[in-house]
């Protein structure tokens, strides 16, 4: 049996809205093994982003156990969470979230700065990553000088450059046209081939279909979907 990278047991997340507790994640059990490509599929308001925040260690569950790469997350403080995010998670956002004022090379270097990698090694790794993504000739470009697809490739470079345990993508194709979205999905498949674990959150079942495993979420309840081999 493959190594469990992520183990969630009985996760509950409630938000207190106007004095009333609203359950957003309702007793979720969710495991991911190393090398998997999972998509979490669900309609708007179903709790996908909440799920992603907890997986990504941006937030902690109200109750339940969450073990990521052998570490119990639930009781960590802000500083420990920051370190875990830096080391274990590579975020990819719908709207890319690149720093406009920095070159794409600097953007990719950013998480390496936070892991205190020395300057030269940082440059090297960021440059190599961007070259792999076919952006080697645009290192000094600013994000707004690139197309949406290129920007998302920069964002993916930034997510992968730290060699995280998990790539965590929230609607990674949401801001892209169909063709570019397709290319990003191919890139994901490629990264997964190389052994990278990917969790992708989407409301689009065509996009979700690119994953090897689909989990559905509805009103905070998770159910295992059909497993399709791409």
């Amino acid at each position: 049996m493959a190594e469990k990278l992520l183990e969630m047991t009985d996760i509950v997340k409630t938000y207190n809205i106007a004095g009333e507790d609203q359950v957003v994640l309702n007793h979720i059990d969710f495991d991911v093994e190393r090398g998997e490509f999972v998509s979490i599929l669900g309609p708007s308001g179903s709790g996908k982003s909440t799920m992603m925040n907890i997986i990504g260690c941006l937030d902690v569950p109200t109750s339940g156990r969450y073990i990521l790469h052998g570490k119990e997350i639930a009781n960590m403080d802000q500083i420990e969470l920051a370190h875990i995010r830096n080391k274990e998670i590579g975020f990819i956002f719908q709207s890319f979230q690149l720093l406009k004022r920095n070159t794409i090379l600097e953007n990719v270097e950013l998480p390496l700065i936070y892991s205190k990698i020395p300057t030269r090694e940082r440059h090297e790794r960021a440059r190599e990553m961007l070259e792999r993504m076919g952006l080697g000739n645009k290192l000094d470009f600013y994000p707004n000088q690139l197309s949406g697809g290129q920007q998302q490739r920069v964002a993916i470079s930034r997510a992968v450059v730290t060699q995280p345990s998990i790539l965590l993508a929230d609607e990674p194709t949401g801001a892209l046209d169909q063709k570019t979205g397709q290319q990003v999905m191919e890139l994901f498949a490629e990264l997964n081939e190389e052994g990278r674990t990917i969790i992708m959150i989407t409301h689009d079942k065509h996009i979700a279909a690119h994953a090897k495993r689909i989990v559905k979420i509805l009103d905070g309840v998770m159910s295992e979907g059909v497993t399709e081999d791409a």
Binding site: S49, G56, L58, A82, R85, R101, Y114
Partner: protein, 393 residues
């Protein structure tokens, strides 16, 4: 890591040039004011002190009107004061205005000052020629020293040394020219500007006075105590004037100097306090800009946190930016302030010294303003919840 912070801060400041400039304007004005005020005031005070110091220390200034029955002091009494323990010399002062004749030209109401040789030993004002000596005074030699002003008036393009002028029908040989202004305490305290100096005994004869009403008493540098000597002088004068009130006044220059020094420090403190208000206002400007900046960059902060930036790091970055902004203001203010100081110095014709104290004050103050007013916004940034921050897109 610090280098990254510095770089990021600089980029952010440069990116918003206009806004950054307006933000630091308060600091610039505050520091400019501090530097210019402190430097110029210091220069003016140094200038005055220098003049006072040349005559001031160990000097008693006596003005002895006397009483209707006994006016002023006689030569004999001066000699007795001279004998008081600790007194090393006396410079009597007597003056008059009279007409001066030269080559058939009359200069009317010229201000004549009678002095002795000691006066010129204490006040190095001879620019050309020589001062009076002991014999000139004791033997009432007919010599005089003219001021630079009088030279300009009466001896255009001529060397006055060796030439003569006539006072009350008596020819006086010019032996020296006084350079610039007379630094004597009496002149500093609002007397007339002297045109011609003659030995004081000569002037007593010329003006028909046989009493001295003003004198400077010089005390030994290693005198036991200034107070002891001034008390002895007072005692002598009390006896001489029969203990009559208001018959004389005596100023101890050392205490006058002390007073000036304390006035100077009061003035500097007051000016600094005023300038600090400008800095305070500047600091509030910086805080405002930083708060706006935090709000504007909510998403960026959220992203940085998602990528693994510790809260502390975010705080350092914003604090760095605030400090950089205010230091930038401080440095610009420093330059402008020094520029204004030198300009003032040129206009007022006094020497300006760059005071390290003022520089440290300006830079230190602006740095402190950055820390104090940058702290709250930086703290706020570091406490932003990355989820809320990222959601706001």
């Amino acid at each position: 890591m610090l280098r990254e912070s510095l770089k990021m801060s600089w980029q952010n400041i440069i990116q918003n040039k206009m806004r950054s400039f307006l933000t630091i304007l308060g600091i610039v004005i505050g520091v400019t004011a501090i530097i210019a005020l402190v430097t110029v005031v210091q220069a003016v005070i140094d200038n005055v002190n220098e003049q006072f110091d040349s005559v001031g220390a160990n000097t008693l200034v006596v003005s002895a009107q006397g009483t209707p029955l006994k006016q002023g002091l006689t030569d004999k009494e001066l000699e007795e004061i001279r004998q008081i323990d600790g007194v090393v010399g006396i410079a009597p002062s007597i003056n008059a205005t009279m007409n001066v004749y030269r080559n058939g030209v009359v200069y009317e109401d010229v201000f004549i000052d009678g002095k002795n040789e000691l006066f010129f030993q204490r006040n190095k004002i001879i620019g050309n020629g020589r001062a009076f000596n002991y014999l000139d005074v004791e033997q009432k030699t007919n010599v005089c020293i003219i001021s630079g002003e009088f030279q300009k008036e009466a001896f255009i393009g001529e060397n006055p040394i060796g030439q003569t002028i006539t006072l009350k029908g008596i020819r006086y040989v010019i032996v020296g020219v006084a350079d610039g202004s007379d630094n004597s305490v009496m002149t500093l305290m609002g007397g007339n500007t002297t045109d011609i100096y003659v030995p004081y005994k000569n002037l007593m004869d010329l003006s028909g006075q046989n009493r001295i009403y003003a004198l400077e008493i010089y005390m030994s540098e290693n005198a036991k105590s200034t107070k002891y000597i001034s008390d002895a002088v007072k005692q002598y004068l009390n006896t001489a004037f029969n203990n009559k009130e208001d018959s004389y006044s005596l100023i101890v220059m050392d205490s006058l100097l002390d007073m000036m020094k304390s006035m100077q420090s009061m003035l500097t403190t007051a000016l600094t306090a005023i300038a600090s208000i400008a800095l305070l206002v500047g600091g509030i400007g910086i805080m405002n800009m930083m708060l706006v900046s935090v709000t504007e960059r909510t998403v960026e902060i959220g992203l940085r946190k998602a990528l693994g930036a510790e809260p502390r790091l975010i705080q350092i970055q914003f604090l760095t930016e605030a400090i950089m902004l205010s230091l930038l203001g401080g440095i610009i203010g420093l330059m402008v302030g020094l520029g204004i100081s030198f300009l003032c110095g040129a206009v007022m014709n006094i020497a300006i010294h760059i005071s390290w104290g003022a520089i440290a004050l300006g830079v230190g103050f602006s740095g402190a303003v950055g820390i104090i007013f940058g702290f709250t916004p930086a703290k706020k940034a570091s406490e932003l919840n990355p989820i809320d921050a990222l959601r706001s897109v």
